[in-house]
């Protein structure tokens, strides 16, 4: 029966096939003020529900912090948004017009969602300049990449991003030789090169010194506004220093949402974090 229904669905005469009607993801429609819609998303691994009926919205230009104990599903949530994991059900929309669940990782990246991994991941054998150059927005097809020449505007763009992340002094240094904190910034810089509308940043200050943390905080707050930023972080002090709005994730769904103070005084949050 379900096969028949599927066949009928495919053969409906009031619409055309997806392949004919290719999704246009060149322009994100955010006229309602939201950049990301995550609705009723559930995903389970071997019966364990890593994400359970997750709902949240990110506004344009917002800086949102996501906190939660280990195993709350923070990284899985990022995997879903960036196309690495497909959810069992639910919907994820980028703006009002782009359905992220139908797209592959590179397509999502091209559409304007940048992601920083938990472990700093830069290309160790390339220098800082080359790392940024490769990440630069543009046609990333095989032939276009082979023929790519750097224009002077593109050169300037790389220089200005390098300036933003504070790595101008060592542009020809191999990324593998950078310190842990510098690698984190370089990775954020690589995201910026893609001109993303939405930045997903996974544990940006893990393993950083206090000075580095402050600098990272400044960097992320300065990026909000022009970009929407979602930060997943464990470090409460850091979250308090940058967050306007915090979401607490617990067992795969949102437990509480609000300012840092509201969240901290929320009875359910206290139970989850401190036990009864």
């Amino acid at each position: 029966m379900s096969a028949l229904n599927k066949f009928r669905e495919t053969m409906r005469r009031d619409q055309v096939f997806d392949i004919v009607n290719k999704q246009d993801y060149s322009e994100v429609d955010t006229s309602h003020g939201q950049i990301l819609y995550v609705e009723d998303v559930t995903v389970s691994f071997d019966g364990f529900k890593a994400i359970n009926e997750l709902n949240f919205y990110i506004e344009v230009g917002e800086l949102r912090c996501m906190i939660g104990p280990n195993g709350a599903g923070k990284t899985t949530m990022m995997d879903i948004i960036t196309g690495k994991t497909k959810p069992d059900k639910g919907s994820v929309w980028f703006g009002q017009n782009i359905n992220l669940l139908k797209m592959t990782e590179p397509e999502i990246a091209q559409a304007g969602v940048g992601r920083k991994f938990q472990k700093p991941t830069v290309f160790e054998h390339h220098n800082i300049f080359e790392n940024l150059e490769m990440a630069m927005a543009g046609n990333k097809g095989v032939w276009a990449t082979y023929r790519a020449k750097l224009s002077s505007e593109q050169h300037d763009r790389i220089m200005s991003v390098m300036d933003t992340i504070g790595l101008t002094d060592n542009s020809t240094q191999r990324a593998g030789a950078l310190s842990h904190g510098q690698k984190q910034w370089l990775e954020i810089g690589m995201l910026l090169m893609q001109n993303p509308r939405l930045l997903l940043v996974d544990e940006p200050v893990a393993g950083m010194t206090h000075q580095e943390m402050d600098k990272t905080g400044e960097l992320l707050t300065s990026l909000a506004g022009e970009h929407s930023v979602v930060v997943v972080e464990h470090d409460m002090d850091f979250v308090r220093s940058i967050a306007k709005k915090v979401s607490v994730l617990h067992q795969g769904s949102i437990l509480a949402e609000g300012t840092m103070d509201e969240v901290q005084n929320n009875q359910k949050v206290i139970e989850v974090y401190l036990g009864e």
């Binding site: 960036t82 592959t104 990782e105 590179p106 990246a109 091209q110 940048g114 992601r115 991994f117 991941t121 830069v122 290309f123 160790e124 054998h125 390339h126 080359e130 150059e133 490769m134 990440a135 927005a137 990333k140 097809g141 095989v142 990449t145 082979y146 023929r147 790519a148 690589m190 090169m193 893609q194």
Partner: protein, 358 residues
């Protein structure tokens, strides 16, 4: 061309030596009398020509392994397919000079009592058709194989194993007489190419020079890839595939394009090899051959391109020498060489030279 070689000392030295060899060796062979101490025998010329074909093959392996991290243990398959395409052309040039004197059918088909030539042999009597096939057949196989493997994100040791399985499957298939490629014996007893006798000195020299030119062009084309942004992205894929995907590159497309290009180079190398050694048989598909050529690259030094060429020359010269003097020791020597290089020279001989310089 000069832009490609900017900052590539090793490449400059290599191409200079290659050019000198391509000019001087024909002179030493054809013009100097045999009594002269500088005379190069035709046997040596053919041997060097064979090494050049191997060097081109090593180059294609370095492109995918050194620069993109795909350890292909089946590149011998693409080499052999190119070789077979050339062999089929040469086979049909024999005409009625075969043992059975049949003007239409190669000897092995007469022997098998076949009445007419199989459909896939049609067209191979034309040199240019055969040359297109030399590139097309390995390229197509690599394309189909790569499209399936890279789309399903098969990487690392699993990919190595299935490339190995690929070449082994082809080995078994080509052993069968029914396949129509001469079975166990392969294709041999070639007479001439483009009307020139394969036994004459001039043809041998021409094949040597053609190999040198192919190697130089192969080097420059690989170099143009690795110095482009595409080459930098390939290295990035080697170092961190996920990151590349999340900055918006189609990793599978890039891998597929470079892998296919590399297979075409390997096919061309096979086509140059066959007329010089005079035979192509299923042994070229054996997994051991493919592993051996990975060892050439490891010994010469990965990620430099000219290191692969150097490795191919050193190992194959040692092989020629040792199998002449003490044949039973060769495999032990190869194994020992590989262990030594892995332990003490992780960047191969080129790495050692670079370290000395620095």
């Amino acid at each position: 061309m000069f832009k490609l070689l900017k900052g590539d000392r090793g490449g400059q030295v290599f191409l200079t030596l290659l050019t000198l060899a391509a000019i001087l060796i024909p002179i030493f062979n054809l013009i100097l009398p045999e009594s002269s101490p500088f005379h190069v025998s035709t046997f040596t010329v053919t041997l060097l020509g064979k090494y050049l074909a191997f060097a081109l093959l090593a180059l294609s392996v370095d492109l995918v392994w050194g620069y993109m991290g795909i350890l292909s243990l089946g590149h011998g398959a693409f080499f052999a397919l190119g070789g077979y395409a050339m062999g089929m052309y040469l086979m049909l040039q024999i005409g009625d000079r075969g043992v059975y004197g049949n003007p239409d059918l190669p000897d092995f088909m007469v022997f098998l009592n076949w009445k007419e030539i199989p459909w896939f042999w049609h067209g191979f009597d034309n040199f240019w058709f055969a040359m297109v096939m030399v590139a097309l057949v390995p390229g197509l196989l690599a394309f189909v194989f790569g499209a399936l493997a890279f789309r399903s994100r098969v990487t690392g040791v699993y990919l190595s194993i299935i490339t190995q399985a690929l070449t082994y499957a082809l080995l078994l298939a080509f052993f069968r007489n029914e396949m129509g490629f001469g079975g166990n014996n392969g294709l041999t007893d070639f007479k001439d190419i483009l009307g020139f006798s394969l036994q004459s000195d001039n043809t041998r020299i021409a094949l040597f020079v053609a190999s040198a030119i192919a190697l130089a062009l192969g080097y420059l084309s690989c170099r143009s890839i690795v110095t482009s942004r595409l080459g930098r992205v390939a290295v990035a894929i080697r170092d961190s595939e996920d990151r590349v995907r999340f900055i918006g590159y189609r990793v599978d497309h890039i891998k597929l394009a470079i892998f296919t290009f590399s297979a075409v180079i390997a096919g061309v190398a096979g086509a140059l090899y066959v007329p010089q050694v005079g035979i192509i048989n299923p042994g070229e598909f054996s997994p051991i051959r493919s592993i051996e050529l990975v060892i050439w690259v490891a010994i010469g030094g990965r990620t430099t391109l000219y290191g692969a060429v150097l490795g191919a020359f050193i190992v194959n010269y040692s092989k020629t020498y040792l199998t002449g003097v003490a044949p039973e020791t060769w495999l032990f020597a190869l194994g020992a060489l590989f262990v030594f290089v892995t332990l003490y020279l992780p960047n191969g001989i080129v790495g050692l030279l670079k370290r000395k310089q620095a």
